[in-house]
Symmetry: C2
Subunit: 211 residues, 2 copies
DNA sequence: CCCGTTTTGGCACGTTGCTGCCAACGCGGC
DNA sequence: GCCGCGTTGGCAGCAACGTGCCAAAACGGG
């Protein structure tokens, strides 16, 4: 089956049906995802197929994946180069620098998510370059992990205070630190959670079982 | 066993040991709790003991209990008059207007929660009066439920937008409503969640499985 | 002790969120 | 049409949050 230069598909199943063969044959897969289950359906099982060991798989995730203990463990089982970025990044797959799949906004409503499959060379080229930039700016999983473990140690206090609903001022007083310092901590925490609002941070913290 | 006028006990177990007999004999129990499991250990099983059917049990909860589907159902099995308040209220039990038990701040650290058992008449009197005020200002479960069901219907949109991390402005645009109106909705939602900060709201919303 | 590095916290300023007030609008009932 | 009632949304003012900047303090070698 061939694909035209730009095709829009609706829903995971259709995407899978249309592109499974591409995943099979690809030797250079790069992917950016917000969480582990995003490309789950279309992600090929850890290559059991014989001789092709020169397959290169790169993945960029948001920090959130590290918060969930189970997904953090699962992450370590993936046979791929993994990096973490705090940037907002569109969920994307690149296959052999020849095909790009861009996920549409999952946002509104219950409608099936749309995916745009691109094979037009110029376009794919541009997307690749963007991905490479993101890849370079992302930090290695191990490195990120280290920073993260330390955060996990001192965060509970902050989380307690945040979820108590008190103001930053009160929280800072409680901790006996300056307002600026407290806010800095919160900012670090939010960045680690990949959250851009406190509501989001609260939701993710709870999701990760940190409360 | 007698209790002095004011006793502080540490931990649920000790509280239970000290006051179980009071619960047995009480015919007028009033209690305020943030959630269902607060007094769970000390709450007597639904009175299987024979003839005492003139027992009056009143409970005040925070709106949060309605969000969790399971606890909302559980709530309906409780044989008591139940009201809901959006006020912050100290967790409290009153027994026959003669003994008051005030829960301490659960807040800081992992230390066992403290409870203050009060039997000094003047004090208990005052506490009772405060509770009655709270009781009067609280709304009936059924009534609250009605308002709430409707909220549950239109809230998902708001929750999606909030947890997307976008600004109020963007969210309002998305919904096609004014900024003021959007914020009013958020305020209603937060009030329904009993949250006083957005972080808290996010945490509770997630906790209630609304995300 | 001195110096480089890191952390802290005050300050200022911009942004975002919260809410009372009120005029405008929409919608039934009469 | 007119009235009453609830909803909307602009505005204003304030509270809370986010962050760059920088000097002061704290640490850690050498």
């Amino acid at each position: 089956m061939t694909l035209s230069d730009v095709t829009v598909v609706r829903g995971d199943e259709e995407l899978f049906a249309r592109t499974a063969h591409l995943f099979e044959s690809a030797t250079d897969i790069a992917c950016a995802a917000d969480n582990l289950h995003t490309w789950a359906v279309s992600r090929p099982a850890p290559p059991p197929t014989g001789p092709v060991t020169d397959k290169r798989v790169r993945k960029i995730y948001r920090p959130g994946v590290l918060l969930n203990r189970t997904s953090a463990l699962e992450l370590r089982t993936i046979r791929a180069e993994i990096r973490i970025t705090t940037q907002e990044i569109n969920e994307t797959i690149l296959l052999d620098r020849r095909v790009a799949i861009l996920a549409g906004d999952p946002g509104t409503g219950t409608a099936a998510r749309t995916y745009t499959v691109v094979s037009k060379p110029e376009l794919v080229q541009g997307i690749c370059s963007l991905f490479e930039a993101a890849w370079r700016s992302a930090t290695d999983l191990a490195g990120f992990d280290a920073r993260f473990a330390e955060l996990r140690l001192q965060a509970p206090q902050i989380l307690d205070l945040l979820s108590s609903g008190c103001t930053d001022e009160a929280a800072a007083r409680t901790l006996g630190v300056g307002l600026r310092t407290y806010r800095r901590r919160v900012a670090e925490l939010m960045s680690a959670l990949g959250a851009s609002s406190r509501f989001q941070a609260g939701a993710r913290a709870r999701e990760a079982g940190l409360l």
